[in-house]
Amino acid sequence: MAWTREDMARRAAQELKDGFYVNLGIGIPTLVANYIPEGVEVTLQSENGMLGMGPFPYEEEVDPDLINAGKQTITELPSTSYFSSADSFAMIRGGHINLSILGAMQVSEKGDLANWMIPGKMVKGMGGAMDLVAGVKKVVIIMDHNARDGSPKLLHECNLPLTGVGVVDMVITDVGVFTIDETGITLTELAPDVTIEEARERTEANFKVSEAVS
């Protein structure tokens, strides 16, 4: 059985280490906060100017001055600090954030990422994604393994406009976990009941298979 969104978020949460400062993107990455492993303390950064993000508020706690980068209402913690956007991206660009978990439209076998634009169709903008992938120490992508029409998203080369070049370290999909380094892309974990053959059929990128899987 291929992994669900929750399974992917739970697996991504295993990348969180004690003491990490972490930025979670919009969508499935936001779910990762629900699966922080026991004994691990992480501080969530929100690029609109907040360090130490708490859970969603109870109804009576909703505050229009307190939102995350996805524009959802949230709460603060005793450790929270607020700062300007320039300070927020000094943290990000300056390499002070340990891990960022983001969504993607396409990832190449060299670790290129495309997640902000479909020319002529979708014009939303990159927001903070380009700064995050350029400045954060480790970048993990969570995405569906294939697009809605079944086409592969792990490619030799991205054909959508890039967000960053050679920036992705790990990709978690419904099929399994892939790591990317100078030697290329490696399948390191398979979801239950997914075969290596099926993974190859659903992937354009050439990947190696780690011993643990084969």
Binding site: N48, S84, G120, K124, G125, D131
Partner: protein
């Protein structure tokens, strides 16, 4: 010199002209200068180049000035919440310059600090880097981005005094302090306008030197884009 004005319309008097560049603070609809945006719409000034992280939503924030076609060009990082924006852009009725959010914030900070250009890794190898100077530092490639200055910056703060000293609240701070420094004229609207001496000098985020005009906001809506809550017992 008196910096206080009675309302948004009078605070904008004498500083508007067609074709001008305006910065507006806020992230989504959080921390936007609501009164000043409405007064800007009512002024009828046109061909504006607007520098703002987002473009509001269809019927609120800078979306109001898109409805009336007063904006000629937007410099933004994310406009995904505004359908009218997308329509005008795809129909080539509107110019758009996308900036990575951190680059946009730093361009405002740099502009306000008298720094005409800086180098960043953000966007190297992407569309954003096309036509920009590339330079190597310690074996890594960076691109040059330029500082931004606006004819008028419109910002929103929580508290301010009659000297123009400002204090922001929670994530409503966002780009407001950076843009406050980068306006040739900066106009602030605040929820609570107090006498000089009532703010703790150690708590001030934006010193009054950056603020030329200040008003107290009236009838703020403070609309929330995505109310997300949890239920008791979860």
């Amino acid at each position: 010199m008196k910096k206080t004005y009675t309302d948004a319309a009078s605070a904008l008097e004498g500083v508007l002209k067609d074709g001008m560049t305006i910065m507006a603070g806020g992230f989504g609809l959080c921390g936007i200068p609501e009164n000043l945006i409405t007064a800007l719409r009512d002024s009828g000034v046109k061909d504006i180049t607007a520098i703002s992280n987002n473009a509001g939503v269809d019927d609120f924030g800078l979306g109001l000035l898109l409805q009336t076609r007063q904006i000629k060009k937007m410099i933004s990082s994310y406009v995904g919440e505004n359908k009218e924006f997308e329509r005008q852009y795809l129909a080539q009725e509107l110019d758009l310059e996308f900036n990575p959010q951190g680059t946009l914030a730093e361009r405002c900070r740099a502009g306000g600090a008298g720094i005409p250009g800086f180098y960043t890794k953000t966007g190297v190898g992407t569309l954003i880097a096309e036509g920009k100077e590339h330079k190597e530092f310690n074996g890594e490639t960076y691109i040059m981005e330029t500082g931004l200055v606006a004819d008028v910056s419109l910002v929103k703060a929580w508290k301010g005094d009659k000297e123009g000293n400002l204090i922001y609240r929670k994530t409503a701070r966002n780009l407001n302090p950076n843009m406050a420094t980068a306006g040739k004229i900066t106009i602030a609207e605040v929820e609570e306008l107090v006498e000089v001496g009532e703010l703790d000098p150690d708590e001030i985020h934006t010193p009054g030197i950056y603020v030329q005009r200040i008003i107290q906001s009236k009838d703020l809506e403070k609309r929330i884009e995505k109310v997300t809550t949890r239920t008791r017992g979860e």
